[in-house]
Symmetry: C2
Subunit: 376 residues, 2 copies
């Protein structure tokens, strides 16, 4: 049996929250962690240097996008994704499943895999579990994911059950195809919002055995209460000693809730995408920077924030840049939103350490401020 | 008489080239200098921190754009352009003349000033020499410019003469209207490609008396040989002890030629605009990064270059970012092109100091490499 790469450091007494450390080929990651999304080999608008400066420990890359452009051959020749994009810390790649299934009419699913047409040039592609792992082995991320079907919400029980069972068979094929022991292959639990299916999915996936487990299919639904209920039910079923990754979720509230259920890893486009749309997170609520009331507002975006944006610029200036569609607006906004998310996660880790997480649970500003003060 | 803010340090023995220092309210500028263009209160895609890191000593702001948006009232309330954009080093603003005259059909020129319609909302505006100075006094740049007419090329002799004479009358009005002794008001020499008019313009402008002189109307023509000839004729007519600024010019070759004629200051959108179009300056010639031959080119953009882009990324990666229209492409390309221009200017200053400028005059790669090695 392979060495356990995940160490649980401390568990909250009142919730399922826990702090831990995950060792990877490119360094240690402190959990619970947020992973900024770097779809096309760049976290949009950011340099690697900036990401390191604001405390990013691990980023996510999208296999589907990278496979189409620049293509795995280019990244292979570059010496892998880390070298291609000059990012020296850990990377996680998804399997491409989520993106391929999002293509809707232009893809066909079979037991063997998924056939789809490229959005770019209409060319045909066939991705199987083996092919996904092969591409991810080439990209060379520290953590890679099994190729799963992420069923649309709502789907009927029969569809969800068939899909979940196929995902289990695919998970087995992925594990068998995986070639690089320096990359940790995580399994993915599916089953929609059906508890019996989630339970069966956990059991089947754990039986195959992976160094970490992801909860998929939680970012497609619409009813948050049901998603929260399913999450709270599912996470504790997973092995205590392995990292748990909630895929594609979400808001600051979702992260805090996920942590309280025992989730260790998160990714979401929200901080970066919202930044480019002028939707900015602060300890005093969301600032929509295009609002005319900021035209003459010469205060920082968030007076408590220690990021470069808040330390140097005013809301009036950020609004001006945003209205003029200046690149610097995207840069400064992305930097701030990511800093907010990372501060939140630092605050969460600190609170769990100090046994104050249950008390601060609903108080996102307090957690963010705690994370601002403690850069670990 | 006001104290002279410009100190000539060394003159080349064989050409008109010279090194000097210009003292401003926000610090000393080493000449010959290149000023990156920050049209809308941002050098596109760059933070102030990055500009300082690559050695930018002074930037240019466009009065016309800032007057329309965010408006001088916003910048006034912010405490001036430096504070608004968080740039602590010197700034030069143009008078808005060049942009207003570029509007063509939508503006009307009279002795009093220029009436034009805003491109943004169609609103009517009237800019006079006094109003231009008033706006520039509000923006608060260290160096401000007289409001001139920049006649189109080609124009007939009569038009050029009338225009040049009106520019002289406007220069007088600007000097009278100027209110802030912390800002140096430079005069502008016009006269098209007519030597007699250039001579008359120099004499008239110098008679009014300014702490520095600009040569305008050199970035509108098409025939470079004629422009070079006019420049070589005009610059030596200007007072030796005052800084000379060639407006809106140009290519690396233009800068070296301008210096050899005795020019001290330059601005141009070329390094920043070309960067965003994937046109990159290197010591081995121009790289058009979209070219397919760079798809698998895992060498740095310019192996000799010390900029962040060249120290961390490959041509293959830059091409990928550019093809995907990623913001990071604009950032990394802008940083590199500006670094190239600033290295060239550092190399030029060094060469003049060492009396090797005349020898290296035509050798831009050698000048850039000299500037890379010597960060002063």
């Amino acid at each position: 049996m392979a060495e356990n790469k995940f160490t649980l450091i401390h568990k909250d007494g009142k919730t399922q929250a826990r702090v831990g450390q995950l060792r990877t080929a490119h360094g240690v990651v402190n959990t619970p962690i947020f992973m900024p999304v770097g779809t096309r080999a760049t976290v949009k608008a950011c340099t690697p240097r900036e990401l390191v400066e604001i405390g990013v420990e691990i980023i996510l890359g999208n296999t589907y996008h990278l496979y189409l452009r620049p293509g795995s051959q280019v990244i292979d020749q570059a010496g892998g994704l880390h070298r291609f994009m000059a990012w020296k810390k850990p990377i996680l790649t998804d399997s491409g499943g989520f993106q391929v299934f999002s293509l809707g009419a232009s893809r066909t699913i079979s037991e063997e895999g998924v056939e789809f047409r490229s959005e770019i040039d209409g060319s045909k592609h066939f991705i199987t579990p083996e092919r996904s792992i092969d591409i991810q082995n080439t990209l060379g991320a520290d953590i890679i994911m099994t190729f799963d079907e992420c069923p649309p919400q709502p789907s009927d029980y029969a569809y969800l059950k068939d899909s979940m069972e196929m995902t289990l068979r695919w998970a087995k094929r992925c594990k068998k195809a995986h070639r690089n022991p320096n990359q940790q292959l995580f399994g993915i639990v599916q089953g929609g919002m059906e508890k019996t299916l989630r339970k069966a999915s956990v059991e089947g996936t754990v039986r195959i055995g992976f160094p970490g487990y992801a909860i998929g299919g939680m970012s497609v639904g619409e009813e948050k209460a049901l998603m929260y209920e399913t999450l709270a039910y599912t996470v504790p079923l997973l092995p205590r000693g392995k990292p748990r990754y909630l895929m594609g979720v979400g808001t600051p509230e979702d992260l805090v809730y996920g942590v309280s259920c025992g989730v260790d890893m998160f990714d979401c486009v929200m901080p970066t995408r919202n930044a480019r749309n002028g939707w900015l997170f602060t300890t005093d609520g969301v600032v929509r920077i295009r609002n005319a009331k900021y035209k003459m507002d010469f205060t920082p975006l968030d007076p408590d924030c220690l990021c470069y944006t808040c330390q140097n610029f005013t809301r009036a200036y950020l609004r001006h840049l945003y209205m003029e569609k200046e690149i610097l607006a995207h840069r400064l906004h992305t930097l701030h939103n990511l800093h907010f998310y990372l501060s939140l996660m630092r605050g969460i880790r600190r609170a769990i350490h100090e046994d104050s997480f249950a008390r601060l649970n609903k108080n996102i500003p307090a957690l963010v401020k705690l994370g601002q003060k403690n850069r670990k």
